[in-house]
């Protein structure tokens, strides 16, 4: 029936070839959909996911300790290696850092996003967008090195603290075991600060988008029904912002889990997961262990999202 209509229209439709092509396509929406979807699906399926699965497959092989050759035999012993004390500490260190960075990003991003949505005029809002996006226009490496200059022993922050006669505060902070160190740029504090700086935009934008969908009348309705601003925040605004916070935390959490440059440049050079992957696939040639390490962030994210869903983070979507 449709084909007959289409054929009739083809015969009837004269005009330029382009026009006839338009008519041909207009009458066959499914065909157009197919044309649009096949290339991206091929890309996503074969190149994008395919290479990921090829990598994950490697994690089920193991390396022969004598020859240093990869043995192509399906086994879980490489995963077992993740549970050695040294490797576990890498995982805990990275996951802990990712969690702290995510929490800090969310804490800083929420008020900024809230201000942008509720109070900023069009101009101020544009200015905020610019300020948030601007850092992303310059090289990530350059920005990390810039932070090294700020945080170094001879750097700007130390100098400012000395001028203010507050050097003792800085020294006190650096004395704190675990997170302290010889200087900010050689401590976990430094790593943390730079991670928060680098990933903050990825938290602000989703929260802003989520808050944008909360109409003013909903906040007024809450006040109207007797809720103080604090209660309104707790019962209405936060629950509705949570999908945005969840989306932002996926970015900040997984990006921190996978990063290997920041902890290498700034910090006490104890390895993070990304650095472990980098080391094992490079000099050590232990592709299976590198692949097994790569599975860790995926597993952590899967658990994280399952928990988030269980606690209703996406109910407001």
């Amino acid at each position: 029936m449709t084909a007959a209509v289409a054929a009739a229209a083809d015969e009837a439709g004269g005009g330029s070839p382009l026009r006839r092509l338009s008519t041909f396509l207009y009458l066959r929406p499914r065909f157009v959909l197919l044309l649009l979807l096949v290339p991206p699906l091929l890309w996503l399926g074969v190149i994008y996911l395919g290479s990921l699965f090829a990598l994950l497959l490697q994690s089920f092989f193991y390396i022969d300790e004598f020859t240093g050759q990869v043995v192509h035999e399906v086994t879980l012993r490489t995963f077992g290696e993740l549970f050695t004390a040294a490797n576990l500490s890498v995982i805990w260190r990275t996951a802990g850092m990712a969690a702290l960075v995510t929490a800090a990003c969310a804490t800083i991003a929420f008020p900024i996003a809230y201000y942008m949505v509720r109070y900023a005029g069009i101009r101020t809002k544009a200015l905020f967008y610019l300020a948030i996006m601007l850092p992303l226009w310059s090289s990530y490496l350059v920005r990390v090195y810039a932070w090294k200059l700020l945080l170094a022993k001879e750097g700007v922050i130390t100098w400012v603290m000395e001028q203010l006669h507050l050097a003792w505060v800085l020294d006190g902070i650096l004395q704190i075991p675990m997170i302290g160190g010889p200087s900010l740029s050689a401590s976990y504090i430094g790593t943390f600060l730079v991670f928060v700086y680098i990933w903050l935009p990825y938290m602000i934008l989703p929260i802003e988008a989520a808050l944008e969908r909360v109409p003013r009348s909903m906040i007024e309705a809450s006040a109207d029904l007797g809720a103080h601003p604090g209660s309104t925040l707790r019962h209405v605004i936060l629950p509705l912002a949570i999908p945005g916070i969840a989306a932002g935390s996926i970015f900040t959490f997984s990006l921190t889990l996978g990063d290997y440059i920041i902890p290498q440049i700034i910090g006490n050079s104890r390895p993070f997961i990304g650095m472990a992957v980098y080391l094992h696939q490079g000099t050590a040639g232990n592709i299976p262990l590198a692949a097994a390490f790569a599975v860790v962030p995926i597993a952590i994210m899967a658990i994280y999202l399952t928990l988030a869903k269980r606690f209703g983070a996406f109910d407001a979507l």
Partner: protein, 347 residues
Amino acid sequence: MSTANSIAIRFSGVSRHFGEVRAVDDVSFDIADGEFFAMLGPSGSGKTTCLRLIAGFEQPTDGAILLHGKSMVGVPPYERDVNTVFQDYALFPHMSVGENVAYGLMIRRVPRAERTRRAVEMLEMVALSGMAGRKPGQLSGGQRQRVALARALINQPSVLLLDEPLGALDLKLREQMQVELKAIQRRVGITFIYVTHDQGEALGMSDRIAVFNKGRIEQIGTPAEIYERPSSAFVAGFVGISNILDGPVAQAIAGSPAAFSIRPEKIRMQSPGADVPADCFSAAGRIDSLLYLGASTRYHVALAAGGELTVIEQNRDAPDLGDVPQQGLPVRLVWQRRQIQPIGPGR
């Protein structure tokens, strides 16, 4: 209405300016306890701002607002004994219908069991029994409207504010909800303040109507007063169909150039040679166009003296299809002298 404690809301000299814009400009009125009070006007006339001033979402630039004799200046919405039904309903999408309705009680730390019980009662009252477990997203527009009403009434406010609550509903549902709203108001005995731009709603439901125009009140009165005795050309035109004659046309017909209005249904359309009783005015004219509406027909008649009048005739008799007045037919319009309403000069 004269004693202070029976006045629910008093506005005295209230203004609300947004920069240069005078959204509400020196408005004063009283609303009695238990009254169904409509604020009627076109968009931008200040009626919604007045409602928001009562709710506490806006603070007056000038003047005083009293709620049961207590000044509301500087009192935030969450400390006012007033609840609102919002135009977009503003239901919380992450809560169930039951949680939405019980929100005000939850905020007031009413125990969960009582909260649930009262929410169920409220939902029963608005004919939504058994819907407590659903999410607002699963309801139709009319059902959401009822949830918003139940949520606002559960706190038993002394005044309920309704901001064009039926605006988003289709005609049939709107008419049904008008009847239900009126019945609910009678049952709960709470003062209802109802903002609308729909004159039909205002006339049908309210005890009194305030007609707003450009931030001021043009007229306050019962629906019949507003309709039959409009005090200005604006009211005559906004409520009902505008039929205003003035100047030479008024002189020719009524013997005075002063403007007057006459409602279309008060006019009878007769043949040109018909007798005119002594207590009637009359005007000759010709049918310019007509609109057949089923129950009635609306004629636009061009007058011989100049100007135009709209006439509504009920189609009461069985149709004699060959004998329907047609375009171009000469007619004589007749109406009783006492039916005209003098119109003061408009602002």
